[in-house]
């Protein structure tokens, strides 16, 4: 647990980077420090491992004032990853990852084993990469090594300063997803600095929004989106905060069972009659107990054709873990405007429609009690 108690930092040139900031980051919590550039979020983070000294207040890690600890011991116990990565170009991948174990004087074989373990954790083949040099890696691979390195000696706390900042959006999204999976396993206490509201919503259990050295709002993502404290928060969150809120939900949270499923062997005219009676515009065609084949519209059903021939095959489908923002955009691509949700075995488990999304949006504006994505999985 990290506790900041009335922390302040005034630089020697007189700028007040952080003013009287108090906050607590709980054990195992993914806390995002968010704000425009120059708001003091990086300064706040660097005060936790004493890269920047504080001028007033107190910071405690697990109840111990960090200024009662040896500076380097403290830092070895806190993983540190930065935007520019800062890999050592003269050392191999494994030597980079084993930096803190090396400083802690672990035996060489243990350092090597740890590096292999971490490479695997960040999704890189140890045999291929362990003896490479940073200059032989792509930007995304370097970021992965940066993350692996900050986990080197398995510190309980991680400080991360835009660790996915300097890479292309696709790789970034991938690394974010992977890191969330890793975090679900390792449950570190994390202070994560970013200026990207989308990244903050996606990653954080709680978001600390800062402005001009002050903490403006410290709450979980859905609260930040649904009840911004003041005009600044509202502006920062953006006019599309409701849409951003969609990212916090997954298909499985809101999907509904299909109103009507029909099997391929059923008689088209009987199905048609049933649909007309219940006023259902479309049915979902399945085969072999739930294997999804396509959409069946009432108007297309004919006596002479089998149901399979009249069905529209799905162009896109979702999974129960698809975030709602992605699901919504897929729905616009779907011929029928609905999205079939299939599980791993391609079996139909539910359906999303515009009506469902509209209801969800209406709710998330009025009340905010959704779980952030980061805690699931």
């Amino acid at each position: 647990m990290i506790r900041l108690d009335h922390v302040g930092k005034t630089f020697s040139d007189g700028t007040e980077a952080v003013k009287d900031l108090s906050m607590e980051i709980n054990e195992g919590e993914f806390c995002v420090l968010l704000g425009p550039s120059g708001c003091g979020k990086t300064t706040t983070m660097k005060m936790i491992n004493r890269l920047i000294s504080l001028t007033s207040g107190k910071i405690c890690v697990d109840g111990v004032d960090i200024y009662n600890l040896d500076q380097n011991e403290l830092r070895m116990g806190i993983g540190y990853a930065i935007q520019n990565i800062g890999l050592f170009p003269h050392l191999t991948v494994w030597q980079n990852i084993a930096t803190v174990p090396m400083l802690k004087k672990w035996p060489k074989t243990k350092q090597h084993e740890r590096a292999e373990e971490l490479l695997e954790l960040v999704g890189m083949e140890p045999d291929t990469f362990i003896d490479r040099y940073p200059s032989e890696l792509s930007g995304g691979q370097q970021q992965r090594i940066g993350v692996a390195r900050c986990l080197g000696a398995d510190p309980p706390i991680l400080l991360m300063d835009e660790p996915f900042g300097a890479i292309d959006p696709i790789t970034r999204a991938k690394l974010q997803d992977e890191f969330l999976k890793i975090q679900a396993k390792i449950k570190k206490t994390i202070a994560f600095v970013t200026h990207d509201i989308n990244e903050a919503i996606k990653m954080g259990d709680r978001i600390a929004l800062m402005r001009a050295g002050e903490l403006v709002q410290f709450s979980d993502p859905s609260t930040l989106l649904s009840s911004p404290k003041d005009e600044f928060v509202r502006d920062f969150v953006g006019a599309d905060s409701v849409l951003k809120g969609l990212r916090l939900l997954r298909a499985k949270d809101v999907m509904q069972p299909p109103p009507l499923t029909v099997e391929v062997h059923e008689n088209p005219m009987l199905v048609k009659a049933r649909m007309e009676k219940d006023r259902i515009g479309w049915a979902m065609l399945t085969e072999d107990e739930g294997h999804f084949l396509g959409w069946v519209s009432c108007d297309d059903l004919q006596e002479s054709k089998s149901i399979r021939d009249t069905a529209t095959p799905p162009t896109v489908t979702g999974t129960p873990d698809t975030p709602l923002n992605e699901a919504l955009s897929k729905m616009f691509d779907s011929a029928i405007g609905n999205l079939a949700i299939l599980d791993n075995g391609e079996r139909l488990v539910g359906v999303l429609s515009f009506e469902i999304i509209r209801d969800v949006l209406g709710q998330s504006v009025s009340e905010a009690k959704v779980e952030p994505c980061g805690e699931e999985q």
Binding site: N49, L51, N72, E73, L74, R75, M76, Y80, I82, N84, I85, G86, L87, F88, P89, H90, L91, T92, T99, V100, L103, Y133, P134, S135, E136, R149, C150, G152, L159
Partner: protein
């Protein structure tokens, strides 16, 4: 490989010329320097260069390193200014001034060469250490390296190729400068060249000039090898990658 063949051929040629000139024995009324005298001159030449260079390396790296430290950073502009201006002063002037201050002879030559050799070493050490990516240093510090560890494990290994390049430049230039030092009675190949010029006998001039050139070329090749060897492999890979991109 091709590079070493060229160097080897050149060295063989220059040594051959020296031996040939020495074997002439006498040109007109003038006697060539006998083999023992040539060997003696060579040893003296090596001695002047080596003593001045070793002192310059030790002092130069130390001064260049200290200039990058925060405590001494205020003098670094002055220091680098001196290092840059100093290099534009002709070697002859350096040696002249040294001989005026310290008298003719070996000591004055070594002092002059030392001052001339230390300048590129200071400059490269400073530049090499300052060019280390701040993000790399920050990461090192943030992970708990002490200041000494950052210096020894990060800054110096990364600056090593640049420092080594400075040493190589200064050593090779020094071989040539040491020949000029012959003028102030310090010995070395300079004596042969001056004598030959004074009596206008070209074979004697060549007898001194050829081995001087050979020594400079040989030293450059050796130090080039040392430079490669001192460059961390991760940086070689980087250099290679950049080279291939071009």
């Amino acid at each position: 490989m091709k590079r070493y063949m060229t160097v080897g051929l050149l060295l063989a040629l220059l040594c051959g010329i020296t031996i040939w000139m020495t074997s002439l024995g006498q040109v007109g009324i003038f006697k060539m320097f006998p083999p023992m005298k040539v060997v003696g001159a060579a040893l003296r030449h090596v001695q002047i260069v080596a003593v001045a260079e070793v002192m310059a390396v030790v002092m130069g790296i130390l001064i260049g390193f200290l200039a990058t430290r925060r405590t001494f950073r205020f003098i670094s502009p002055v220091l680098l200014g001196i290092a840059n201006v100093g290099q534009t002063v002709p070697t002859l002037a350096f040696i002249g001034i040294a001989s005026v201050l310290l008298g003719m002879g070996y000591n004055a030559a070594v002092v002059a060469l030392f001052f001339y050799a230390i300048l590129p070493i200071i400059r490269n050490t400073y530049a090499g250490i300052r060019s280390v990516d701040p993000a790399v240093k920050e990461a090192a510090q943030g992970m708990g390296m002490s200041r000494q560890q950052v210096t020894w494990k990060v800054e110096l290994p990364l600056a090593r190729p640049v420092i080594m390049a400075g040493i190589r430049t200064s050593a090779v230039v020094n071989v040539g400068t040491a020949a000029v030092a012959g003028m102030i009675g310090a010995g070395g190949f300079g004596v042969l060249i001056m004598t030959g010029l004074a009596v206008r006998v070209m074979p004697i001039v060549i007898q001194g000039a050829a081995p001087t050139a050979a020594m400079a070329i040989g030293l450059d090749a050796i130090l080039g090898k040392v430079e490669d060897w001192m460059t961390p492999r991760g940086l070689m890979v980087l250099k290679l990658a950049q080279w291939q991109q071009q």
